[in-house]
Each structure stands twice: as C-alpha cells, then as structure tokens.
Subunit: 405 residues, 2 copies
C-alpha cells in the first residue's frame, strides 16, 4: 500500500486546525567555521519559544543527501512521495497562473529568447523582458491554431510563458529545445519514445514553433522561443481525501500556488505580501482545516548569496508568529522545503530545521533553547523524512485512528 493510501485509511475528520508555515529554502550554513547559520543568526524570540515548548527536529524533504527542487520539496511536505510524483515544470507553470489542466493536456514552459539573423541564440532570456512585454509577445502568437488540438498560450512572469496543447492522443515525452548555451540554435522537438502519441505531438509542436518564428522574427528583443519541462497533469490523490482536512494555500508566487493546487488545496488569490497572507489566514480561519503559508524570500536571498538579507527575511516571519498564534492553531509547523545556504547561493541537500508546536501533544526537547540547525539536532523529532511529516501533523491534530486493534 502506498504511503498516501495508508494515510487515507487512517485519517478521520475533526475540528482541529493546522498551519504549515514554509520559509522557502530555510536551512542554511555558517559563513565561517563555528559561526551561526542564517537561522541561528536571526533574532527570533517567537520561534525560539515555540522550539522550546514544542518539538523540533530536522527534516529531509526528499531524502538524505538529495537536493530538492521546489516541487519535490513541497510534495514531500504535503505527504506525497516526491520520488513517486515528479511534476514537470510545464504543469507547474500552468497551474501556477491559475490554468485548470485536464487529463488530455500536455504543457511546457516557454522562454522568449533572442536569436540573430541565422537563428543562433544571442540571449536565452531576451534581456529578461518584463512581464508586460511578455504579455504583448504572447498576444502576437496566441491565435495560432493546430489541427485537432486546442492551443493555449499564456504569459507567466518576465520572459516566461506556458504552452498547453489540449486534445486526444498527445504525449509529454518530448525533448527540451533550449540548447542551454548562446551561439546555438534552438533544438527541434523530438519524441523521447517510440509512441505514435509522442511523434504526433512533436510534429504539432514543431509546426507551432515554425509559425511562432514567422510571426515574431522581426520583434525586438524577443524574437524566438524555447520550450522545456514537458509534462501532463499528474492526477494526484486530493489532500482533502487523504488527510480529511480542507486545505487552503496562502502563497504569493505562482509556482507555490501551482504546487498547492495540484493536490487540490484552495488557492487564496491576490496575496502580495506577508501581511496579506496573515490577513487571508484570519479571514479564512473558519472555512478550512489546513493552511499552507509560503514565504518565498528566504530562498531568494539565499540564492542571491546574501546572508544578512536572508537573516532579515527570517526575522520578518518571526515577527508574524504572535499574530498567527492568536488564531490558536492546534498544530503549527514551521519549516522549509529545502535548505538554501547563502554561502552556496543555491538549494542544498542539508536537512531543514522544523518546529512542531501542538500544545499538550508534543514531547519536550529539554536541551533546546532556540530555533536553529544545531538545536534541532537535539530535538524530540530527531531527523526524519518529510514522508512522515503529514503523519505527525495529522496525529497531533488528533485526526488519525490507531493502526490495527
């Protein structure tokens, strides 16, 4: 029995409420030997108290020594085995801008790029054109039709758009066309398996790309496209069916809304910042049981390599905690989807510090005085895999029956 089916068989409805607060890329590393990590350097009196009074530990969202992408990191936290459910970037971009996908859809993420007169790429991101320019470019190509399928093109952000082909007999087994280097031409689409569906889809997409090129070749700076992340709607079991909790997602970035919607969470729309998210949490408190709150900028500052700015983002979230606690959640989990140490300027494989606060339900960490990587080592939860996190949340929310008599 899969982990998800197992949980489905054990969970039950209830009136408790749980919050999963994700600081993207939370985990970090010290700048110098013996120094603090970003989280340890941050002034976080509220999370420190929760760490002392709740249980803490370190979570591997995919597995020990594996660096999670945003998709797998979040699916792990949501209780879905990220090794079983790898979702393509195309689908993520599509659902992230609110496109409802059907089982017939094949989606790709597109980039506008710049090519010279011979078709060689000179800028893979077309000078990182702004979203409004991207929208204008999409308006030039969004009425291209293809035989037997519906074609949807939508701008996403900056130079990125999403392409969806909708119809019977399509396949996402296609190669990516970005050659990953300037000075090369975009690759032709090729089928990655011998199926007639993949051949048919490759032919259709090549035709679409040719038409796009004809329509925009004289534009500037974006005059060509590349396509990647071919994928189909994964048809995941719904979070509410599995965990018996009606779930709402309070995320600012499209990607994270997309991840949440793929497991059936309701997206609270129009949130621009942490205050909006807090407000949305309050407004929707009575309507849902599970609240996924996502803060992006801890990861962004880590990716920038800006230790101090990442510290500040963590402190911003800490300042939000007392207002969250006013809602009296039965379970509050604070963690990240992966580590993004600013010294590495990238996602990393280091396990992510985690607080599980569920008053009256959690075991003490007598040796823990604050929230940080080293302290979490001594925590009551130990080091564990994210596949067990939703079990812990559901158990502490008293929404789980015992296994066997």
């Amino acid at each position: 029995m899969s982990n998800i089916d197992f949980m489905k068989s054990l969970t039950q409805s209830g009136s408790t409420k749980a919050i999963l607060l994700v600081m993207d890329g939370l985990g970090g590393l010290p700048r110098e030997l013996g120094g603090p990590t970003e989280l340890e350097a941050a002034f976080t009196p509220n999370m420190d108290r929760l760490a002392r009074e709740g249980s803490v530990g370190l979570v591997n969202t995919v597995g020990i020594g594996i660096t999670p992408g945003s998709g797998p990191g979040h699916f792990g936290l949501f209780g879905y085995d990220p090794l079983e459910h790898l979702i393509g970037r195309g689908v993520l971009e599509a659902v992230g801008i609110g496109l409802a996908l059907t089982e017939q859809d094949v989606a790709a993420r597109g980039n506008f790029c710049t090519v010279d007169q011979e078709g060689f790429i000179t800028d893979r991101r077309a000078g990182r054109i702004l979203t409004q320019e991207c929208a204008r470019m999409v308006s030039l190509i969004d009425d291209i039709t293809l035989p037997g399928v519906e074609v949807v093109v939508k701008p996403v952000q900056d130079y990125r758009f999403v392409l969806i082909l909708r119809g019977p007999g399509l396949s996402s087994a296609l190669n990516e066309t970005d050659p990953q280097k300037v000075g090369l031409k975009p690759l032709k689409i090729r089928p990655l398996d011998g199926s007639p569906e993949a051949r048919k889809t490759a032919d259709l997409v090549n035709e679409w790309v040719t038409r796009v090129s004809e329509l925009i070749r004289s534009q500037h700076p974006a005059n060509m496209v590349t396509l990647r992340g071919w994928s189909s709607e994964p048809g995941l079991p719904k979070f509410e069916d599995v965990f018996k909790m009606k779930a709402a997602a309070m995320a600012v970035y499209p990607m994270y809304k997309g991840l949440a919607s793929l497991v059936g969470m309701t997206l609270i729309e129009g949130l621009k910042n942490i205050e909006d998210q807090l407000d949305a949490l309050r407004r929707n408190w009575d309507s849902y049981d599970f609240f996924f709150v996502h803060h992006k900028y801890t990861d962004s500052r880590g990716e920038d390599g800006n230790f101090d700015a990442k510290v500040k983002e963590i402190e911003k979230v800490d300042a939000m905690i007392p207002k969250i606690l006013e809602l009296n959640p039965d379970v509050l989990v604070i963690t990240g989807d992966h580590s993004t140490p600013s010294v590495l300027k990238s996602h990393s494989w280091h396990p992510v510090p985690l607080i599980l606060s569920a008053p009256g339900m959690t075991r003490a960490n007598p040796d823990v005085t604050s929230f940080g990587e080293s302290q979490c080592l001594r925590g009551a939860l130990g080091q564990f895999n994210a596949s067990d996190l939703m079990k812990l949340i559901s158990a502490h929310a008293q929404r789980q029956i015992k296994y066997g008599a």
Copy 2:
C-alpha cells in the same frame, strides 16, 4: 528479501538468554508544560541504573506518527513488519483464549447486543453483560450446525465472543455487521470480493446469524449478535525459526498470549499477576532462550486518564527488576508496545522509551541519568523503528553472524 528472511539468514543458536519486558502503553506526556511524563515522575531506581549502564533510545513500533494498536505494536517488537502483517481481531480473540487455529479457519469477533422487537439495536454491548452471562448465552447457540463446516463459538470477556468456521473453501473477505450506531439493524453479511469462497462463507454466516436470532430473541438483555474483525490464521514464520531462540510468553491477558502464540511462542498458562510472571520466569529459565513478559496495567491506567495510577504501575514493575536481574539475563529490553499518555486517555503515536541492557555489550549514554522520554532522546540507540529491535536483541545476545565476508 523480507526483514524476517534476512534475520533468518543471519541468526544462529546459542546459550544466551534474552528478556523482552513490555509495559503496555509505557510512553507518556507531561500533565503540564515542562512537567514530567508518567515514566519521568515514577520512582524507578532500578530502571534508572539500567538506563545509565545500558543503552537507551526511543522506538517507533509501527512508524513515525502512527498510533499502534496492540497487535501491530507487539508484532513490531517481535520483529515482524506490522504493515505487512495486520492480524484481524477475530484471529486475535481466538488465539487469545487459547484456541489453536488451523489454516482452514475463518474467525470473527462477536458482540452480544440488544435489539428491540423490530430488530433495531438499542444497546451495541447488551449492557456490557458479564463474562459468565456471556458464557451462558454462548451455551444457547454453540450447537448450531452448518453444512460442510465445523462451527466453534466461545465466550471471551464481557459481551464478547469468538466465532470460528472451520472447513475447506472459506474466505474472510466479509463485511462487519455492527452498524456502529444504535437505532439501526445489524447489517447482513456480504462478500467483499467476487470469490465463490466469500459468497459461500457469507451465506453460511447469514444462516448462522438467523439461527442465533431465533434461539436468543426472547433472552434479556442480550438477544442478538454482531460480527466483526473477520480474519484467517496468518501463517507467520515462527519466532524460533527466525531468531533461533526458543521463546516463552508470560502474559496475563488473553490478547497478548494470542499475539505471542501467532509467532509460535510457548504460552505459560495460569498467570494472574506480576508475581506469577516472575515465578514463571524462574521456573522456565532453563527451558527457553527468549522470554516475553507483558504488563498490561500501565496501558489500562493511561486509558483511564489516571496519571498517578500509571506512575504506580511503572513503579511496581521497577520493583520487580532486581529479581529479574538475579537470573542474569544476557539481554534485558524494557519498553512498551506504544505510548498511552494519560492526558490523552488513549494509545498515541509518540515513540516509546526503551532500555537495552546487555552487560559488556552496550554503548554508553554519557548524558543519561535516568529512564524517561527526555533522557532517551540522548541515548545511544537514538530513535529507531521496532523492525530493528530484534536485530539489536539478537546481536547483543551474540546470536548473529556477520553479514557478508
């Protein structure tokens, strides 16, 4: 290779002796933030010394965040993957009262209940009739015969009995008949799959229930039955074959004797209390290699929500330790099959504190001064799954060869 086959390939005979002392529902929670758990509050000088001198840790008997029933909890401790081997209540009740099951048997747990004149249930447990009344009721129905199968009905405890159908071509894929609410009629037995065996068994059981109803409908308060927990003898590999240790079980309660007998342990009969168990341990010391000693009342008092009474039960067991140590076991493990925090009045998912005492064989826990949940966090064994416990016991008993050359 399954865990059991793996162990079977590594274990060897020997002359060492191991005791697994299970305090049912041992793990607990503090009554108030920062306070001690039941185990931490208990005066346990003997176990404290064993904790300091041996290795301690925390064990998840089924898995992180999962609340074990008694069956899965014990199977985990015995080294059998409880997710692979879920034993139905019918079989547990049957073996628990000493009925030896055959491979042809299908067993259910029965409840006597009260129905009104139209057959609607008014009390699902017939006023919790006493065991002797249950025995009288069983005597009214135990000579019902069915074509082609042997029928066994035996009283268990209070309003509970066990029904066994023995014969070729039977199936336990049947629904439960208790509608779980008063005001409804007992459900008809239906086959849960399309097999002829399930259909045949369903027909037989429905006929049996009709005959029962005719025989007891004018009795009071028990005048009808419900059936649940349909199951077959699981045919588990025998403990002695797997671990090369002749095992004896010293348990007072039928359920735990039943669990031990399913893995082939010899049941030492007629034990009424902890003194009997200690005496049985002494008497049988030379005849066995592995001794499963079960103390029920830690769980019972936890289920009652009686913190202080659970503390007293733990202290009672602690007082028994010096006499156990007089036998000089090579390995003594003290743990529970799950947690039953008295603040929750139920089984819980919290990992269970464990002492592994094997003089000369165990790693030190330099930070451990006593036996308790928080102390076990700092222990040499860390947090681990019960599937690894019998490996540790067998290793410390020097009954295991190395894996590979």
